[in-house]
């Protein structure tokens, strides 16, 4: 570009080799592996190995860290109470780094190097799809997936402990119609979860006499929504059933607020919104937003066990990594406890025996209430709650009458 008397960066072969060696050393020893051994040991058989594969770093690191935290807490509690089958649990945590190709290599470590007895984790559906083959098919290991998701995952030996579209829509959408209106808009991020969830939501909306005004998909990193907001305002949409995700969701809700959607009585709704996402917008911009999940902090007031769990978590992990439902942390709790119940019933650890017991496992207590697997379906019945944001906090406005069926597989 211009003459300059400086030399370009020069690198000798020796320097290159030195740094290359350092780099490959760092990669080989496995950055991002953690082992949490038990404080006591069973000399005869050794510990039971529990593998956690979750996104400790990267875009959804906030969710992954909550998953790892709750796993540490549950495993510690189980160990303090004497372990499972007289053996302590040893936790092996691998970082899936919000990146599927990194994840596959790290999960392979759990299977091949650590030879874990079960793997729990994965948050996004793309992550589950990337690692399930490594765990279930080639790894011949049990896999428990804890996040709310679009359903239709019916792989043998893969158990899901988060809410499905049926659980999030069947009672929620009629509530939205009663407390919002009949005209729905489905603005969505363009990936698998919104597409499949919307197909289900549309059925429920139409079955209940509602109408979908538009269903539209946006690039995942779109942050400008004026055209969408305009469409919502000019078509007199009553309910926005949102599946736009961060970073777009913040500017979208802000533009909706500025256009006066809430002021003219519009109802905002978003089924992944939990306590973590409350900070994306100012409280007045999301006043009245409705969500439907298996647990909210506001449930603590009526459910002493949830309250105890939440306060124990906060004591152990104070700070900004919250224990909430939208980021799979509640599903992780449920998954671990259901698996514990299954291993206790089976009395041994081989995959088929544990899977057979897990197929009908139950827990009497958990975040938001009890839970039980639906036999033959590998999905989990659970309590569901509808909450509305008021001044930056959720208030429970409806709760399911008993456990809700996942209606999968």
């Amino acid at each position: 570009v211009r003459q300059d008397n400086r030399q370009p960066l020069a690198m000798t072969r020796r320097q290159f080799l030195a740094s290359a060696a350092w780099m490959s050393g760092a990669v080989a020893t496995g950055v991002g592996s953690w082992i949490v051994p038990a404080r006591w040991a069973n000399a005869a058989e050794g510990p039971i190995k529990v593998g956690i594969a979750t996104d400790l770093t990267g875009a959804i690191g906030f969710a992954g860290n909550a998953n790892a935290n709750i796993a540490k807490m549950v495993v510690k509690d189980i160990n303090d109470a004497g372990g499972v089958l007289g053996r302590p649990l040893e936790l092996h945590i691998e970082d899936t780094a919000s990146n599927e190709s990194v994840a596959v290599a790290n999960v392979r470590k759990l299977i091949q190097r650590d030879k874990v007895d079960v793997v729990l984790g994965g948050i996004t559906s793309s992550m589950r799809n990337a690692i399930k083959d490594v765990i279930v098919t080639r790894g011949k290991t049990l896999y428990i997936y804890p996040q709310l998701y679009e359903g239709k995952e019916c792989t043998p030996y893969l158990f899901c402990t988060g809410p499905t579209p049926a659980q999030q829509c069947d009672e929620f959408i009629p509530w939205l119609m009663k407390n919002g209106g009949r005209r729905f808009a489905l603005p969505s991020a363009n990936y698998v979860w919104p597409h499949v969830l919307n197909a289900y939501a549309r059925q429920v909306i139409e079955k209940n006499g509602g109408e979908v005004i538009f269903e539209e998909y946006y690039p995942l990193d779109q942050i400008e929504y004026s055209a969408t907001v305009n469409k919502i305002m000019t078509n007199n949409v009553d309910v926005v059933f949102n599946t736009v995700i961060p970073p777009g969701v913040g500017p979208f809700f802000k533009q909706l607020y500025e256009a006066g959607f809430g002021k003219r009585g519009g109802r905002l709704s978003c089924v992944y919104y939990d306590e973590n996402t409350l900070n994306i917008n100012a409280p007045y911009e999301m006043e009245g937003l409705a969500s439907c999940l298996d647990y909210f902090r506001a449930v603590d007031a009526s459910d002493p066990f949830s309250a105890k769990l939440q306060s124990e978590y906060e004591k152990e992990f104070p700070g900004s990594v919250l224990f909430c439902a939208g980021s799979a942390a509640t599903g992780m709790y449920r998954g671990l406890k259901l698996w514990e119940a299954a291993v206790k019933e089976a009395g041994k650890l081989d995959r088929d025996s544990v899977a057979a017991a897990l197929d009908h496992a139950k827990i009497a207590e958990g975040p938001g209430g009890p839970a039980e697997m639906v036999p033959g379906k590998r999905h989990c019945k659970m309590q569901m709650y509808t909450a509305v944001a008021k001044s930056g906090k959720y208030e429970i406005v409806a709760r399911s009458n008993g456990l809700v069926d996942p209606k999968e597989c």
């Binding site: 570009v1 211009r2 003459q3 300059d4 400086r6 030399q7 370009p8 960066l9 990267g58 875009a59 959804i60 690191g61 906030f62 860290n65 363009n190 539209e216 998909y217 946006y218 690039p219 990193d221 779109q222 942050i223 400008e224 004026s226 055209a227 969408t228 305009n230 000019t234 961060p246 970073p247 913040g250 500017p251 802000k254 533009q255 500025e258 256009a259 006066g260 973590n276 996402t277 900070n279 994306i280 917008n281 100012a282 911009e285 700070g319 900004s320 990594v321």
Partner: protein, 285 residues
């Protein structure tokens, strides 16, 4: 009619945001001949500075005033320690600044815990003009962008400092022979570009909320804008930014958003193909 007015306002305001973000990038690219891949992260740092000031209990606008100053200082420090080693090799400069950006981004991600944080606008609400809601803050951004753009243009074309900057760009050897310290000029230009990025970050963070990847989206659009507008002039990147900003906000009104996203790039590439030197291809500032 209402809808059309509304569309024009929204499209203009997003165009202004992109211009604001690209201004600093364009100045560094045009005046120094290096493409700063850490520019998006400078925008992020501007947003982060605003957040820190706001969190310490001071009003948001104090943070917005502080951001360009802080970023100017950071830019100066980085130029003195890192960037100056890259002038001889523009390709290495791209990689180097990209690495710098990566370090900044991941550090900020760690500091904010990977979350999305809202920061309030200094002026909340909207004006209603003929049934159209005009967000006050977006209106402010349009005004500030116009002001900053004019001021930067005057600084570069009408002042003695601007003359030295242009001299250092066009013929560094002759500039040095004439007693201009190109070292100082480059450092000042880089710091100025970084300060503009800081300002942009501070102004847009109330709209987009604070998150670690705030800068990436703008980096790609900024890169496209500079390519489109042409390097070597002040007006080029600004015009390019205007085109990119307006296209990416206007196209979703006309076609499916997913298609619009791709179309912006297609149109930009076609224009670059037709005018390889950029929209404004002049040898002077």
């Amino acid at each position: 009619m209402e809808s059309a007015l509304n569309a024009i306002f929204e499209v203009l305001s997003f165009g202004a945001i992109i211009v604001l973000v690209v201004l600093g990038l364009g100045i560094i690219a045009s005046m120094m001949g290096i493409f700063n891949f850490a520019h998006g992260e400078f925008v992020l740092l501007g947003a982060f500075t605003t957040y820190l000031v706001y969190k310490s209990g001071l009003p948001v606008w104090v943070g917005m005033l502080a951001a360009p100053v802080v970023l100017g200082a950071i830019g100066l420090a980085l130029e003195r320690t890192v960037i100056r080693r890259f002038y001889a090799a523009p390709i290495v400069a791209m990689l180097g600044t990209y690495a710098l950006g990566l370090v900044i981004r991941e550090t900020v991600r760690g500091l904010i815990g990977g979350l999305y944080l809202s920061i309030p606008e200094p002026v909340v609400g909207s004006y209603v003009v003929g049934g159209v809601q005009l967000s006050k803050w977006r209106l402010m951004i349009i005004l500030i962008t116009a002001l900053v753009m004019t001021a930067s243009y005057l600084l570069l074309t009408r002042t003695a400092f601007g003359l030295r900057v242009r001299a250092a760009l066009e013929n560094p050897a002759l500039a040095r022979a004439s007693g201009i310290s190109t070292d100082t000029i480059y450092a000042a230009t880089f710091a100025f570009g970084a300060a503009l990025a800081g300002l942009a970050g501070a102004l847009v963070v109330p709209i987009f909320s604070l998150f670690a990847d705030l800068g990436i989206r703008f980096l790609i659009q900024g890169f496209l804008a500079v390519m489109l507008g042409g390097i070597g002039t002040f007006e080029g990147p600004v015009a390019g930014a205007g085109v990119i900003g307006i296209l990416s906000a206007a196209l979703p009104w006309a076609v499916t958003p997913v298609l619009a996203d791709v179309l912006v790039f297609v149109i930009a590439i076609v224009i670059v193909k037709l005018r390889p030197g950029g929209l404004i291809n002049a040898r002077r500032v």
